[in-house]
C-alpha cells in the first residue's frame, strides 16, 4: 500500500502490513465505525449551531449598538432602547434561540439515526475486524438520509449574517 493509502486493498507488493494490523494502518475499520460517522456529523452540526448563536450575540453586542448610534444620529432622536433598535434586538435574540433549538434538534436527529446505522446488516460494527471480513470500503451502508432543508436554512442564516455584516462595515467605513 502506498504511503497515502491510495492503492486498493490487496495491492501491497510487500504482502502483509508490516505493523501486522489492518492494511489501512492507523485508519483501521474501527475509526470508520458507523456510529462515529453519525456522531462526527452531529458534532459538526453542534459547532455550526453554536457559531450561529455566538454570531447572533456579536450582532447584538457590536453591530446593533453601532448601527443604533448611527440611526439615532441620522434621525435626530432616540429609538426607545439604549443603543439597541428593537428589530435588531428581536432578530439577534431570535437567531440565537434558533441556533440553540437547532443544536437540540440535531442531537435528537443524530440519536435517532445512530441505531439505524448500526442495525445488523448495515456493515461491520465497532472494534477490530477479522482478516476474513470485508473492508469498510467494500461494504455499502444503505440508509436513506433526510433532505437538505436544514442545510438550506443554515445557509440562509449565514447569508443574512453576511448581509448584516456588510451593512455594518460600510456604515463604519463611510458613515
Amino acid at each position: 500500500m502506498s504511503e497515502h493509502g491510495a492503492e486498493p486493498h490487496g495491492a501491497d507488493p510487500r504482502g502483509a502490513d508490516p505493523r501486522g494490523a489492518h492494511p489501512l494502518g492507523a485508519a483501521s475499520p474501527s475509526a470508520f465505525d458507523l456510529g462515529l460517522q453519525s456522531e462526527r456529523t452531529a458534532l459538526a452540526w453542534q459547532r455550526a449551531a453554536l457559531s450561529v448563536t455566538v454570531g447572533s450575540l456579536v450582532i447584538l453586542r457590536v453591530a446593533a449598538t453601532s448601527l443604533a448610534t448611527s440611526l439615532e444620529a441620522a434621525l435626530g432622536g432616540s429609538l426607545g432602547l439604549p443603543g439597541l433598535p428593537l428589530p435588531f434586538a428581536v432578530g439577534g435574540l431570535a437567531v440565537g434561540v434558533l441556533g440553540l433549538v437547532a443544536a437540540a434538534l440535531i442531537a435528537l436527529r443524530s440519536r435517532g439515526r445512530h441505531p439505524r446505522l448500526l442495525r445488523p446488516g448495515r456493515g461491520p460494527g465497532p472494534g477490530p475486524v477479522p482478516a476474513h471480513e470485508p473492508q469498510m470500503s467494500q461494504v455499502q451502508v444503505q440508509l436513506q438520509m433526510p433532505g437538505a432543508a436544514l442545510l438550506a436554512l443554515l445557509c440562509s442564516v449565514a447569508l443574512v449574517f453576511g448581509a448584516a455584516a456588510l451593512v455594518f462595515v460600510l456604515s463604519t467605513g463611510f458613515g
Binding site: 470508520f32 458507523l34 460517522q37 453519525s38 462526527r40 456529523t41 459538526a44 452540526w45 459547532r47 455550526a48 457559531s51 450561529v52 454570531g55 456579536v58 457590536v62 453591530a63 453601532s66 446505522l117 455499502q140 451502508v141 444503505q142 440508509l143 436513506q144 438520509m145 433526510p146 433532505g147 437538505a148 432543508a149 442545510l151 438550506a152 443554515l154 445557509c155 449565514a158 447569508l159 449574517f161 453576511g162 448581509a163 455584516a165 456588510l166 455594518f168 462595515v169 460600510l170 463604519t172 467605513g173
Partner: protein, 120 residues
C-alpha cells in the same frame, strides 16, 4: 414511489449512495459554513475594533473578509449539491470552485493589514 426530498435536483438523480459519503459531504458543507461565519466575524471585528491601522486599508480588508464570508455559504450549498449529485451518479467528485479564490482573498487581507500597519 418518487423521492420527495428537498432539493429535487439533487435527490431526483442517481441512486441512494452509501450513507457515510452523504454524511462526509454534509460535514464538508458545515465546515464551509463555519468558515463563512469566521470570515464575517473577522470582518466585523476589524471594522469595530480600534486598531492601529490605516483607515482605508482597514476598511478594504474588512470588506474583503465580509464579501468572502458572503460567498462561502453559496459555495457550501452549490458545492454540496454538486458533490451529492456526483456521489449519487457514481461520478468523479467535482473540485471546489471557491477554495483557490478564498485562499487568495485571505492572503490579500494579510497584505492589506501589513500595509495598513506600516502606513498608519
Amino acid at each position: 414511489m418518487a423521492d420527495s426530498r428537498f432539493p429535487q435536483r439533487v435527490f431526483g438523480v442517481g441512486t441512494e449512495p452509501d450513507a457515510r459519503f452523504t454524511l462526509a459531504n454534509e460535514r464538508t458543507f458545515l465546515a464551509w459554513i463555519r468558515t463563512s461565519l469566521a470570515l464575517i466575524a473577522g470582518g466585523v471585528a476589524l471594522a469595530a475594533l480600534d486598531l492601529p491601522l490605516q483607515p482605508g486599508l482597514k476598511l478594504a480588508a474588512a470588506l474583503v473578509l465580509v464579501v468572502s464570508g458572503i460567498l462561502s455559504p453559496l459555495q457550501a450549498w452549490f458545492g454540496w449539491a454538486r458533490v451529492e449529485q456526483a456521489i449519487r451518479r457514481s461520478e468523479p467528485l467535482p473540485g471546489s470552485r471557491l477554495a483557490a479564490p478564498l485562499a487568495g482573498a485571505v492572503a490579500v487581507v494579510g497584505i492589506l493589514l501589513l500595509l495598513g500597519f506600516a502606513l498608519r
